[in-house]
Symmetry: C2
Subunit: 429 residues, 2 copies
Amino acid sequence: MVPHLVTALTGPINELEQRVLDSMPAIERWFRLEWMEHTPPFYTAVDVRNAGFKLAPVDTDLYPSAWNHLAAPMLPLAVQAAMAAIEKICPEARNLLIVPENDVGSTFYLSSLAQLRRIFLMAGLNVRIGSISPDIKKSTTLELPNGESITLEPVLRTKGRLGLKNFDPCTILMNNEMTAGVPGILEDLQGQYLLPPLHASWSTRRRSTYFKTYEEVAKRFGKLIGVDHWLINPMFDKCSDVDLGSAEGLEVLTSRADLLLAKIKKKYKEYGIKEKPFVVVKGDNLGRGSGLMTVRDARDIAALVKNADNAVLSLMQGPQQFILQEGVLTNERMNDAVAEPVVYMLDRYVVGGFYRVHAERGVDEDLSAPGSRYVPLAFAESAQLPQPGIRPGASAPNRFYMYGVIARLAMLASSYELEATDPNAEHYT
Amino acid sequence: MVPHLVTALTGPINELEQRVLDSMPAIERWFRLEWMEHTPPFYTAVDVRNAGFKLAPVDTDLYPSAWNHLAAPMLPLAVQAAMAAIEKICPEARNLLIVPENDVGSTFYLSSLAQLRRIFLMAGLNVRIGSISPDIKKSTTLELPNGESITLEPVLRTKGRLGLKNFDPCTILMNNEMTAGVPGILEDLQGQYLLPPLHASWSTRRRSTYFKTYEEVAKRFGKLIGVDHWLINPMFDKCSDVDLGSAEGLEVLTSRADLLLAKIKKKYKEYGIKEKPFVVVKGDNLGRGSGLMTVRDARDIAALVKNADNAVLSLMQGPQQFILQEGVLTNERMNDAVAEPVVYMLDRYVVGGFYRVHAERGVDEDLSAPGSRYVPLAFAESAQLPQPGIRPGASAPNRFYMYGVIARLAMLASSYELEATDPNAEHYT
């Protein structure tokens, strides 16, 4: 069930794996105690990159789609986690409303929605799907290739509640990134749970805030298991109000990229790593697919901007906020194609994952781009679980346990992030 | 992964399956609310019998063994449930002591112990195994055929705590039925969690108390989904102080068996069932393998007692407490052998199960006997989960969802049972 992988696992990563395995009871206890104090995001997907010498999350999605790419045998794991989550949030729950993306577009997304509906149905809820898109004016049924169908119904806002005709949910599950901002229809709901909260959307989130929080989590975790946190933490820098249409803007980005590349080079030298450092430029507040360009040499930036395709170019218009993130190579491959694991969590549990595979991209490029494929990871085998006594580097199960640990660190960072940005929290004035 | 089954699913059972599926969200919500008020036993295994026309639990084990017969892909489900259980009981837990049966005997039991250890190790605990057997005077390592080993260490009782040399557990997990009574070494522990509590052992438990409680649960559940509770509830009668060595004793049992057989006959007539009713005589306070005889005709009792083998006969010496339980046929078969599902739960979650198969036993006999085999049930496939829209009787997954529901009812009854028999509860004086 575990896809055949070609990995180049030498040097520090094996040490890291050994540390993680040796510290398993301490790690699990640490997470348990963290979850006593902090609420995990309702659901989370984390892109993990394994460079062989370094393993780090490069993006954390709080409105995950692609649930349909999780391996079928893992469904019970997701259902069990959903049951635990419901019990904690609203045990008397009967009805759940899922709010999908406004543009449900492809069969791909609809299949993910169908899988999400199945998970919560099996956890014991009446589930319906309510669109907040102005285009959905009446109940619309869309067929899926496997014979299933999805019925999108227009939401109704009445007094302080959001629902559908003859359907009053106690919980509303957002599967909508709200990149264009939070619609008023979702504000000031009374007595309904809106999950995740509105400030988990990209209208509030900033990658720079998130990765700062992650850095703190990584430092504490590094101390716990006795490793340099850089081994699990991508360095980054933030560039505010940069207009890449201007010479000044290009210059700012170029000099900052140069600085970050130098810092990476220093670290590579420290660990005797021969790879070429690179930096990924991402939108600070853009949703999925926000990786705008890969910079291997800061002097290339002007050319990269000039040659960017129109979609990317439109995201760089006018003064923008960017982050420069230390690029993490992926040394995982499926056949000849470059692959990166994406780990899915529901409540505080790892419930599965898949490999995002892109045949036409390099080891230092963003794989979340048109042309990518998805290969389910059989986490539900003993895959998610470590096998003590097996030597590091030799065991796919151990690898996946480590991925699950890193993904949970990324999730924990989001939990801190959401606490810090909560508009209703007392410390926020 | 799901073993090929021959079932004879006609008549009321299909109605029951339909009801269970139609009521799924209501059922799950009902369980959720029950678990808010009542604590599930720490772990539970339930023998379920499917007669085609009736589906009922016939025994509930609060110290389950045979964990090694759960399918490997379900391990993550058990680990996740164990994590949830630990988090609830003692989130700061580091060390878990498992106390096995005094006589670890076979490789069979040791393999189960190894699997149990694996589950809690992977949930993030340091696990060691401490024997309370007077025969274990020093650390003893036993090898398993798969290369694993089990080290049994003698327990140490110091002040108010139980532990091992250099190992102070915060939680003690009993995997010992304590049929000979509760040893003093386990009493009056201070600040340690003993799971399940001592009154879950057969020195306190009575089948008659348990099945009375189950009957109440079955009635409420029957009302919830609108079915006759008899369809999920085996009738029973209790015989106290009966000496089967005396003519009076035999007469009492005979007349009570006659009465119960008549009640079953009446129910069979109501449902147009052509099968021959039978009754199983069980010890009221005996552990595993307590099914003493199958009675098809009350007049056979004297002969059955006379011809019982020595092991069974020794359990019937002197005045004893018995229960007469309505026999539930099993219409499940693997190839030609009679089979019955055993459902495993950890905390409130179904985590797997297997078929107990016995080639030399009949559809109306106890399969928990020498010569039985075990076939893992792939609950971890979508097996445990219902598939709405599939017609009843046609879908193995739906069957297993129903088994999981019945097993959870049996577990809930034990939860009530443990509350009622708790010596520390205020209502118990």
